[in-house]
């Protein structure tokens, strides 16, 4: 059985070709500084692997130590409803020290979102449930910190900060 208990499906946010042979799944938290440090590394991996890679981000907000993480995750889901998921994802990580409500509204404005609709969606309990829906699958898949990465369904146990990460991905089958 692969480590990743819930396989990637169309309910995930997927960046890259569905036919890509290398699948990288990150369980992450927008307020976590380690996830912030992983963000440019993932960008570089995406640049280097191009169409061979599909990247999936699943929310794993650690709400007690990162009180703004859940709202940020909900904001990304709200942006997704207006077709701007990855734009908001990038905006949140690039500004992860400012994730209060007014900052998030500013980011939505900057992305040209319909703000009235965005505010309603951010307050929607169902969207909050969606933002939390990956948490249990993460726990059961062995997520024990943020970020945790899975490569083609298997948990990556080595140091994702090391250059070996991209070499490992290149050889993934």
């Amino acid at each position: 059985m692969p480590d990743l208990r819930i396989p990637v499906s169309d309910r995930d946010h997927i960046l890259g070709s569905p036919d890509a042979t290398i699948e990288l799944v990150e369980y992450g938290d927008y307020q976590c500084p380690y996830c912030g440090a992983a963000y440019p590394i993932v960008k570089r991996i995406q640049d280097e692997l191009g169409s061979r890679l599909k990247f999936v981000f699943r929310n794993f907000p650690l709400r007690k130590i990162h009180p703004q993480a859940l709202m940020a995750a909900v904001a990304s889901e709200a942006a997704s409803l207006q077709g701007k998921y990855w734009e908001m994802h990038d905006m949140l990580f690039e500004n992860q020290k400012r994730l209060n409500y007014s900052s998030i509204i500013n980011y939505a404005e900057h992305l040209g979102l319909d703000i009235i609709r965005f505010k309603l969606d951010v307050a929607d309990i169902n969207l909050e449930k969606k933002a939390l829906s990956d948490f249990e699958s993460g726990l059961r898949s062995g997520v024990n910190a943020t970020p945790t990465f899975f490569v083609n369904g298997n948990k990556y146990l080595q140091d994702w900060k090391a250059p070996e990460f991209i070499q490992f991905l290149e050889q993934a089958k």
């Binding site: 380690y34 007690k64 130590i65 726990l139 059961r140 024990n144 910190a145």
Partner: protein
């Protein structure tokens, strides 16, 4: 380590959130005992901080979590307060490591508990145990699986 099927040895230890914790006074509850080396490991990788984020998932399975290390009760209180932990930490402090020794998870050389997990059922029987490498946060996958397996047997 003590093996599944054995009776969990009884103990009483002082607790960070109350006066004391006695295993045998918790019959009827499922217990998760998380032995760990020391308070104050780095926050983002800390096992206790991580478990604190997911207590609801243990509660949903009718399980109560306690952390156990050889740190004293004042150290536990400070650590628990700093990390805002919502579950008790037990002080295996005097005589040092006695409960950890009984559960066969004491590291004599380090003078600390090993990183180890026990899941105990409503009747005080050990149902699952796991020894983790000391530098690896074992997460919760094994605990949740053990609790699931107990549901399946009970039904």
């Amino acid at each position: 380590m003590l093996q599944p099927g054995m009776i969990a040895p009884d103990f009483t230890l002082s607790a960070s959130l109350g006066e004391s914790f006695t295993l045998s006074q918790n019959r009827g509850k499922r217990l998760v005992l998380a032995f760990y080396p020391a308070d104050w490991s780095p926050v983002c990788s800390d096992q206790m901080t991580f478990y604190n984020e997911m207590l609801d998932y243990f509660t949903d399975q009718r399980a109560t979590l306690v952390g156990i290390s050889v740190d004293g009760k004042w150290c536990h209180a400070a650590f628990s307060n700093d990390r805002k932990l919502d579950f008790p930490l037990l002080a295996d402090f005097e005589p040092k490591g006695a409960v950890s020794r009984t559960y066969e998870v004491y590291d004599e050389e380090a003078g600390e508990s090993k990183r180890a997990l026990y899941v105990i059922d409503e009747n005080g029987i050990i149902r699952w145990s796991y020894l983790s490498p000391v530098d690896v946060n074992p997460g919760a996958a094994g605990i949740l699986q053990a609790l699931d397996d107990m549901n399946n047997v009970t039904q």
